[in-house]
């Protein structure tokens, strides 16, 4: 099946919010890099589960509880298949990608890094892949190194081998949430391994939009969030290679993650329970499972094609119309960029741009996008960002372009 074979109008019809109205005007939702909307399939799966099948998991033995456990573990298997992970028990459910990255930094990093060890990050990381390492730098005295960027917002890999020399970790985003840049994940994982470093991939912006194969990447850890991939809030994923996970200490302590507890100490449960302390996001796992099924039904390569087309269309529409009045950050080549368009419009502050767009129900984010170090490089403390997803089409890009006109009227520029 190709992207042309998908009925994208029907896809849009599946998402109630993007078919909603505010003040009688349709909503143009262009903030999916922030969080995505949910299809009826996900909303109904969660509500139905709470109406007919809600029960504790992993703890009680009656049929209702056993079926709930199967539903929860079934979601794990769906996620495993979706990212082509070798084993289901390597897939750990967390609360969001941020917790996933903290888990890896704290548990793997805390146990394996010591004073002076180097961790390599990039200048385009989200705070979620910076702050946990800075916390570890403060507590363990590790050194942080940064891969710089090229002028068009790609990773500048000229000095990669020097940066990786003696490094213990390379942790990087598969796709920038500001620039849209898609990084060469497999090559970076290989470079990390060649240097003897562990490769951690922040795939928060990648998994929702592309075919993901953690084995083809050769990654050691991969993290992402459900809420950006048409799934519910309240659940994230941390995938890691079994051998690494087995050797790591636990992260949060409590029920479910133990094999035994005595007054003088505890022993850990097997994977994945070891990293899932307390009552997990049960309903949310069911919703994430439905989200993964929904996306699989479309075909992730079709999703990618659709978004490449839309990105190209939006880039052309905006630059044709506004020329030098608009600066769109990141690579022009849609082969290496996703459907995220951060831009500066004339001299109007992004917050004012977003205000004017909101007047036409065009929803974009204005701000630092949780990537302040990158913003400083761009020389801005904020940008406006329009991001597209499966329920968007060319008319949304047109609506954005039209609405931008309003900004000129007001600011008279």
């Amino acid at each position: 099946m190709s992207a042309a074979a998908v009925d994208w109008a029907r896809v849009k019809a599946d998402f109630p919010v993007v078919n909603g109205r505010i003040d009688g005007q349709p909503i143009v939702y262009l903030d999916s890099a922030n969080t995505s909307q949910k299809p009826h399939a996900v909303i109904d799966a969660m509500a139905d589960f709470m109406r007919h099948a809600y029960a504790p998991i992993n703890r009680s033995a009656y049929r209702l509880a056993a079926a709930a456990t199967d539903a929860y573990e079934g979601a794990r298997t769906k996620v495993q298949k979706f990212i082509n992970a070798p084993k289901a028990h390597e897939v750990v459910f967390t609360k969001n990608a941020t917790e996933s990255l903290n888990l890896v930094a704290h548990s793997w990093g805390g146990a394996n890094l010591k004073r002076g060890d180097a961790v390599v990050l990039t200048h385009m990381e989200h705070h979620a892949n910076i702050v946990p390492w800075q916390m570890l730098a403060a507590s363990h005295g590790i050194e942080l190194r940064w891969i710089p960027l090229t002028a068009d917002g790609q990773l500048d890999l000229t000095n990669l081998s020097t940066l990786l020399d003696g490094a213990k970790v390379l942790s990087f985003t598969a796709m920038s949430n500001v620039l849209g840049t898609i990084t060469p994940v497999a090559a970076l994982c290989k470079a990390a391994h060649d240097a003897g470093a562990v490769a951690i991939v922040d795939a928060c912006q990648y998994v929702p939009h592309n075919v993901t194969d953690v084995q083809a990447w050769g990654a050691d850890f991969v993290t992402f969030s459900s809420h950006k991939m048409v799934g519910p809030s309240g659940i994230g994923v941390m995938w890691g290679r079994e051998a690494l996970l087995d050797a790591m200490p636990p992260f949060l302590g409590g029920g479910n993650m133990i094999a035994d507890v005595r007054l003088d100490g505890f022993t850990c449960a097997e994977l994945p329970a070891k990293f899932e302390a307390g009552t997990p996001p049960i309903v949310e796992a069911v919703g994430l499972g439905a989200a993964v099924e929904y996306l699989s039904g479309l075909g992730m390569s079709n999703v990618r094609q659709h978004e490449m087309h839309l990105t190209d269309y939006a880039l052309r529409t905006l630059t044709d119309r506004y020329g030098d009045d608009i600066t769109i950050h990141g690579p022009r080549n849609v082969e290496v960029r996703g459907a995220v368009l951060s831009f500066a419009f004339r001299d109007i502050h992004p917050h004012d741009v977003s205000q004017v767009l909101d007047q036409k129900n065009v929803c974009v984010r204005a701000g630092h996008h949780c990537a302040k170090p990158l913003m400083r490089l761009l020389g801005a403390n904020a940008t406006a960002r329009a991001s597209f997803y499966i329920y968007n089409d060319e008319s949304d890009a047109d609506a954005l372009a039209d609405a931008l006109d309003g900004a000129s009227d007001i600011f008279g520029l």
């Binding site: 003040d23 502050h349 992004p350 004012d352 205000q355 701000g367 630092h368 302040k372 403390n381 600011f411």
Partner: protein
């Protein structure tokens, strides 16, 4: 939804395009404080030169949207040369216009806000209230700094 003309009054755009009292003051003798709006990344620095009980000079640095910048600019005009106590009254009055409660049980002082009243329209755009108030919270911190 209220129209944008409620938000972007001409006087606001004027302060945005030509901000008053931009710059820095040497600290010490001046005091300063920095404020962030985590939502949109706006940053403001307020410098105060206080002599006795009077704010003899004020400067504003940083960058941000039209509302935060114009509010900062108008704020700088409103406090320059004023007695600290009078400035505190203006802060209370302004915040109450922005429909922000404070914990002070005494009645909101009856002071004239002048140009600042142009910012009243911001109340209809609740998300922008934080922008309008940023300079004022930073001012309050700078005043605390001075004590």
């Amino acid at each position: 939804m209220p129209g944008l003309e409620d938000l972007y009054r001409e006087i606001i755009l004027d302060h945005y395009r030509s901000p008053r009292n931009r710059g820095e003051l040497p600290t010490p003798p001046a005091v300063h404080a920095q404020g962030h709006n985590p939502l949109c990344g706006d940053e403001i620095t307020v410098y105060l030169q206080i002599d006795g009980d009077t704010i003899t000079d004020v400067k504003v640095g940083g960058q941000g949207c039209s509302i935060s910048q114009s509010s900062a600019s108008m704020m700088s005009q409103a406090v320059k040369g004023k007695k600290v106590d009078d400035v505190k009254a203006v802060v209370r009055k302004f915040k109450s216009m922005m429909s922000i409660d404070d914990e002070d049980p005494t009645p909101i002082p009856e002071v004239k806000l002048g140009d600042l009243e142009a910012l009243q329209g911001v109340v209809k755009f609740p998300v922008r209230i934080k922008c309008a108030v940023l300079a004022w919270n930073t001012l309050t911190e700078a005043l605390a700094e001075a004590q």
